[in-house]
């Protein structure tokens, strides 16, 4: 049986089509690689920005804690006000909020001693009627 003379050119056309497909994917692959690179760069930038914001948040918190512990009443008031703002920030995690909690203990401790029914080591009544163990 003889091979049809049209088979060889058909294979050549098929190979040419394969290269055409790969060649046409080149710009898409370049675009995909550029997109991935841009995404990674954006994530790195976002992480760095958040780290910078946290660093600045902590610096402000240190200043505010220092002010809240000051002997000067006006400075203490400003420090407590700034701490309230900083505590409500999304940058403040549980650990940071626990640290900030130190600041209110001093001024409110005076009140605990003044009130006969509320003092350290005793249960405190909350607004919804339950008790808070200190």
């Amino acid at each position: 049986m003889r091979v049809a003379p049209a088979a060889a050119p058909r294979r050549a056309i098929a190979e040419e089509q394969w290269w055409d497909i790969v060649g046409s994917l080149g710009p898409v692959a370049t675009l995909l690689a550029a997109s991935v690179a841009a995404l990674l760069a954006w994530r790195t930038l976002a992480q760095r920005r958040q780290a910078d914001q946290r660093s600045q948040w902590w610096a402000r918190t240190q200043w505010a804690l220092d002010a809240a512990m000051s002997e000067d009443p006006a400075r203490r008031e400003v420090g407590l006000g700034v701490l309230e703002l900083l505590a409500s920030s999304d940058l403040a995690g549980d650990e940071e909020v626990e640290i900030i909690s130190i600041a209110w203990a001093g001024p409110l401790a005076d009140r605990w001693h003044v009130d006969d029914d509320v003092s350290f080591g005793h249960n405190e009544e909350t607004s919804n009627g339950s008790e808070v163990e200190r």
């Binding site: 009443p73 549980d94 900030i100 600041a103 209110w104 409110l108 009140r111």
Partner: protein, 57 residues
């Protein structure tokens, strides 16, 4: 002719009243801070602290 000496000092009772007001403002700020931190940590705030936090500065 008498010479009046102005020391610029406030009367003692006025000064102590101002100090007391300042201390009260500090307590209110502290109460507000406690409400914020308790809320953030999911803790319950004592009723008297919430009442204090609601007071005007």
């Amino acid at each position: 002719m008498s010479t009046a000496i102005h020391t610029g000092r406030k009367p003692k009772h006025a000064s102590s009243r101002a100090d007391s007001r300042q201390e009260e403002r500090i307590r209110i700020r502290a109460a507000r801070l406690r409400v914020t931190t308790d809320k953030k940590l999911g803790r319950q705030t004592p009723a008297w602290v919430e009442e204090l936090a609601k007071q005007k500065l």
